[in-house]
Amino acid sequence: MSAATSSLLRLFRRCPPADLASYRRFVVADRHVGWVKPHFAQLLAEYPSVFYLTDREVHLHDRLSDVEDRSKAVAEVLSKLHERGAVPGWRGELYPVNRRFGEAPLLLMERAATPLFGLQTYGVNINGLVRDGDDCMVWIARRAMTKHVDPGMLDLVVGGGQPYGISIANNLLKECAEEAGIAPILAKHAKPVGLTTMIIEAAEGLRVGVQFNFDLALPADFKPRNDDGEVSEFQLWSFARLEENLRDADDFMFDAALAKLDLLVRHGRVGPEDPDYLDLIARLRAPAPFVRT
């Protein structure tokens, strides 16, 4: 590695640290589970039977005491806000609201609203790998130019959000089949390899993500296939090309780039001789930005 090589920290410079001082904490049953932007907090305050504001917090009303009551009351408010155009991109998928994967949810909430509340969400990512002697190659997807978000950017071969009510393992099989034509008989060999996290400010609010990463060894003659038109092409890259791209360009979507950086670290392509090694590892495992109560 020459001294002139660009730093892999480039990725994190793309998204500067969130300034949480400008948000209000979202609190449910005395637990801090999210961060709400002031303008959205004002909208929520218009529904005082469900939400109330204190100095620096947005609370879900304490009379809503169980997951059913909370989910129903919040869904009614969100549906009205959606009609007013304040909750764009409605998905019709429910996400659990909690602070730790697997913890019983305090409520379930429409996916599109999760960044508005700054909730922690979960997702799965599969690195599709092909052995090449002692080295590895990795499959990369390019998003279709017709995609609303980040058209034409490089993406994971398989990646998706983790809705409530489906196991990680089953979600992985479903996403593999839908996004890249990877049959369950292949996909079931995907090996869990750990987590990466992200905290980024997006236009709609704060995105707090925990990504479950998997490595899947694919046969040399396997070609991923996308049927829903969301991917314009798949390419098989060497780790060297992947590293070079992450150093020199912003071609990958942010969460995909995190997963690929983690891949290069775990496989030893990026090692302690990189001056930013420890910084990179710490940033891939940023703790959830919630006050423990």
Binding site: P192, L195, G268, G271, P287
Partner: protein, 286 residues
């Protein structure tokens, strides 16, 4: 005991017990309050109060700082503050890779609470697609964690060596792994924790390596630090980790990380996210 308890055990430092110390305005470590008071007894070398300790600004070079603080360390060693003088030098740095500001006797590193860096290597073999790990048993005369289970190869990174050079050296001394084989070890991440151990602060970062060994490889210890070796399958490693503290404290973390990276511990483990994210202790989180 459950796996997560090993992480809690290595994150035991109550930083309120320590005061920061600095060289030329740069934070380099944390010392216990009684040590801070003691350092204040060397007013030509340290300025100490109840909030911080600073090395005197007239000590501007690596050599001057190392000699002056080395004399203090020797005094405190003779006064019984710490034991096990080793005549090995560790660098004092603000962050890994930065030029060392001075050097310290290895045995005094925990007393000065400076960031210590080490290498840990998982030596494994593939047996019909299943992984097995070579595990060492520490000699009974080791000052730290005698008799505990350990990695095939691990060691602190002394002054003047990089992680890979240190690994190659330890491979030879601890397990008779030749350089040609040791150079095939792959870096696989790093683990950081702050622990109170034997009353001192261990502010540690471990560089993790994985080395796949030939099936017929047999380790042999040369430096007397490891009493014996044996091979374990991953179920056995996990069950020993779940049963108690048979493994050296930080080796437990490296092994849990290995079990996660190699898919042996899966997301349906109830503590999966805390285990996977627990390998790096952030300064603003428990």
């Amino acid at each position: 005991m459950s796996l997560i308890d090993h992480i809690h055990r290595c994150r035991s430092a109550d930083m309120a017990k320590f005061v920061p110390w600095s060289i030329a305005g740069q934070a380099v470590g944390w010392v216990r309050r009684d040590v801070a008071a003691r350092l204040g007894g060397y007013p030509t070398i340290f300025v100490a109060d109840d909030k911080s300790v600073r090395l005197r600004d007239h000590l501007t070079s690596f050599d001057h700082r190392s000699a002056a603080v080395g004399d203090v360390a020797r005094d405190l060693y003779e006064a019984g503050f710490f034991s096990g003088w080793r005549n090995e030098w560790f660098p004092v740095v603000t962050h890994f890779g930065a030029p060392p500001l001075m050097r310290l006797e290895r045995a005094s590193v925990p007393m000065f609470g400076v960031h210590g860096y080490g290498v840990h290597m998982n030596g494994f073999v593939r047996d019909h697609g299943r992984l097995k790990l070579w595990i060492g048993k520490r000699a009974d005369n080791r000052p730290i964690e005698p008799g505990k289970l350990d990695h095939l190869v691990a060691g602190g990174i002394p002054l003047g060596l990089g992680p890979q050079e240190c690994l190659v050296k330890e491979c030879e001394e601890e397990a008779s792994i030749p350089q040609s084989l040791a150079l095939r070890a792959k870096p696989a991440g790093a683990i950081h924790y702050r622990m109170e151990h034997q009353g001192w602060l261990r502010n540690d970062t471990m560089f993790i390596y994985d080395l796949e060994l030939p099936a017929d490889f047999r380790p042999a210890n040369k430096d007397g630090e490891i009493a014996s070796f044996r091979m374990m399958d991953l179920d056995e490693v996990e069950s020993i980790l779940s049963a108690g503290e048979d493994f050296k404290f930080n080796v437990a973390l490296v092994l849990i990380d290995f079990l996660i990276r190699h898919g042996h511990i899966t997301p349906d483990h109830s503590d999966y996210s805390d285990l996977a994210l627990g390998m790096w202790q952030h300064s603003n989180a428990g």
